[in-house]
């Protein structure tokens, strides 16, 4: 095991870039995760790591768990607490980190089951919302998640909030969500756009009998006009209170629940 004690080590700088920059994740095909539970989830989901970083303190306290990560990791590094603080995204890092090779569950559109249930996100901004929605999607048994270019499924915060669901779910990356929705409609799926006003139907009167995909927009602006007009119907969640609209992940939760529970 090599030892790194300098915060200025070139590899450590790259890890920080992987943590912070989606563009660097895309260029390298790598992403960054931390915390033993998420690292073990990655391992049990069949992912492979390029690097493992662990502090002496964490290794000596959780030897067995750490060693479960050794076979999937190409190179192991023992790091100082100082370096651990530098690369961590949290206030109190556990001291265990992986740099992982890109998710192979990011299938293309041809892997969609036209009889399945899917939720699609356009440019979701908050990684916690994406993570929470993925966790709900897995818990409720959706067939997969479709995400447009603007959603980053390898964001460390999203991966953490998903409790590993983003490793296991069928995630379809769509470079053009509008085109994808038209393709799915042409293949017999019902396509719905979640809107706040001028809806054709309520979420609890949607036809959920066959294959279906519901598109949900981002936190600030909702869905784009282009995506809305590519869907067969506009759907809304009836609201009684004064809150302007539901949080994107809470709205997605209600929509997924209605798709799966009837």
């Amino acid at each position: 095991m090599e030892i790194i004690t300098s915060r200025n080590n070139y590899l450590i700088k790259d890890v920080v870039r992987l943590r912070d920059f989606p563009s660097f994740r895309r260029t390298t095909g790598l992403f960054f995760i931390e915390g033993i539970r998420l690292c073990l989830d990655a391992a049990s989901s069949g992912l492979k790591a390029k690097y493992l970083f662990v502090t002496e303190k964490f290794y000596s306290s959780k030897k067995k768990e750490c060693e479960n990560l050794f076979p999937i990791s190409e190179k192991l590094f023992l790091i100082s607490d100082d370096v651990s603080e530098k690369i961590s995204d949290t206030k109190n890092p556990q001291g265990i980190f992986l740099v992982v090779y890109g998710l192979d569950n990011q299938n293309n559109i041809n892997k969609i089951n036209f009889n399945g249930k899917y939720i699609a996100f356009e440019n979701l901004q908050n990684p916690d919302n994406l993570g929470a929605a993925a966790r709900t999607a897995e818990a409720l048994g959706l067939d997969g998640l479709i995400v447009s270019g603007g959603c980053d499924v390898c964001n460390p915060k999203a991966l953490r909030a998903s409790m590993g669901s983003l490793f296991r779910l069928n995630v379809i990356l769509s470079p053009d969500l509008s085109k994808t929705l038209i393709f799915l409609r042409d293949n017999g799926m019902s396509t719905y756009a979640a809107v706040v006003r001028d809806a054709d139907t309520f979420v609890n009167t949607m036809d959920v009998s066959g294959g279906i995909v519901c598109a949900v927009g981002n936190e600030g602006n909702g869905l784009s006009e282009k995506v809305i007009s590519s869907c067969m119907k506009k759907m809304t969640i009836p609201m009684k209170g004064r809150a302007e609209s539901l949080n994107a992940s809470q709205a997605a939760t209600i929509i997924m629940w209605e798709m799966m529970s009837r």
Copy 2:
């Protein structure tokens, strides 16, 4: 307007304590919020502030909005950017802060409408979950939120995530949730405990025709045995996937939706 430029000013130290320590909030009957939108929400909800803090930069860019806060604030302070960074809970503070007198929507149990719909939380840990659940409760039109001692409705993060809903909702603080639930049952309400296993009913087969309250537990441990046994029935959300359980606020969203949409 007085000027504060020192991070070590005694008042600034108190503001930080209000931000970080629930016990200090309870002792003083004050709480801390930041960001213009939340501050204006507090004002329009009829709250009064003891102190307003604003940076010169923010004041000159949003003069009118700031001046809407002057009539509700007893004392105004112009602070340096350095002080703004010290008291802020966020990475990029806007530069506007209020120290507010305790919420007067924290009614006691006698204010509950026995024909209404309520959600109760036992020791919710994550303030973002409490805030998101409050936002959903308001959007869906629940009659109120019951929170046990362990949930802190004046936490700055919870208030921010609630988008002001915690100012407007009817929030009942219960020092003993189990006793409260028995009292509500004795007054004709249906009381349900959300559990992961050994349930009597599913969330979508609950009787939601009359007054109802559903108790949801904390993120790690769920509801305590004491609270579960004080409810009339145990209820669960059917899950198909591999995720261990839903996030507390996503589970609460499904439960509230089922209470309000049938």
